[in-house]
């Protein structure tokens, strides 16, 4: 825990200063998780603000100190999921107006502008994003939390309120699909 329960209690009772301290303690971690989950650095802050807004209005539902972090992660997962769903709808309508070649040219042009290291990072981001695009938004978030964020199955169980075995099955299937797309891309 990055904050003590007293601070959470103060925030629950309407102390905005205490809430500010909670946000400052978790901001970096949550923004990082969001960035890697949604894969778009430019929208990270918007989604992050949405997470803390939801936290602000749901703090009074929090029962015990132990569930605070899983609760915050759950809000993060939900906000990231909502964002990815919106993006999918937007992308579908935008892509329908552009041919695949046009999209590739646009991406290549964007790559030229950035420096070498940034280009390498961008390539990795795009590669992983394209692999994760092969699975559903729910599985994308779950797989990212496990494989990229390094959360344990126990932690995921607390966030999702789903039995460990069910999570294992879901993660295995999602990983297999990503792996298949990865092999297809290599060959």
């Amino acid at each position: 825990m990055l904050v003590d329960f007293e601070l959470i209690e103060k925030a629950r009772s309407g102390d905005d200063g205490a809430f500010n301290q909670i946000v400052q303690a978790y901001r970096k971690r949550i923004l990082g998780t969001i960035a890697r989950t949604i894969g778009r650095p430019e929208d990270v802050e918007d989604v992050g603000q949405e997470v803390f807004l939801r936290l602000y209005y749901s703090l009074d539902q929090l029962r015990t100190q132990e569930v605070f972090e899983p609760w915050l992660y759950r809000l993060t997962v939900n906000a990231a999921y909502d964002y990815l769903r919106r993006q999918k709808r937007r992308r579908e309508s935008r892509m329908s107006d552009m041919s695949e070649q046009q999209v590739m040219l646009a991406d290549a042009h964007q790559g030229e502008k950035a420096d070498k290291e940034e280009t390498r990072r961008t390539k990795i981001r795009e590669l992983v994003s394209s692999l994760l695009a092969k699975i559903s938004e729910e599985d994308r978030i779950l797989l990212t939390l496990k494989e990229v964020e390094g959360l344990s199955l126990k932690e995921l169980e607390k966030i999702y309120h789903v039995k460990e075995n069910a999570l294992k099955v879901r993660l295995f299937r999602a990983r297999q699909r990503v792996l298949k797309a990865f092999h297809a891309g290599e060959s």
């Binding site: 901001r27 990082g32 890697r36 803390f52 807004l53 494989e147 990229v148 990503v178 990865f182």
Partner: protein, 114 residues
């Protein structure tokens, strides 16, 4: 990408790719206006919620007034038809009128004569 080349099978390569993806997205600090914008959004949601409740209350009041007017203008007169006699006096008056004879028997003779 280097780590990917060193890795052996597909699973290892994928793990290496995820690790590189993690490094490609370091935890961002957030811009200086992160907090002000967040509070703006919180405030906007609060105003929005208050507006919704206020609107709901206005609708309830309007509906109550409309219902009251409907009852007073349509339903009440219709229930009054041909029954004016029942509302011309108090309950005690009507009771006394119905049982006038009973009272005359109960009251002392002197009072009845008056």
């Amino acid at each position: 990408m280097d780590r990917m080349n060193q890795a052996g099978n597909g699973d290892d390569k994928l793990d290496a790719l995820f690790a590189e993806y993690r490094e490609a997205f370091p935890d961002p600090e957030g811009s200086a206006d992160f907090m002000p914008k967040m509070w703006q959004k919180i405030e906007a949601r609060r105003v929005e919620t208050t507006w919704v409740f206020r609107r709901l209350a206005q609708i309830c009041v309007a509906a109550t007034v409309a219902l009251t007017l409907l009852i007073s203008t349509v339903l009440m007169p219709s229930s009054d038809n041909g029954s004016d006699v029942f509302y011309s006096g108090t309950y005690v008056d009507i009771l006394a009128a119905d049982h006038a004879e009973d009272f005359s028997q109960v009251l002392p003779v002197g009072d009845v004569q008056q």
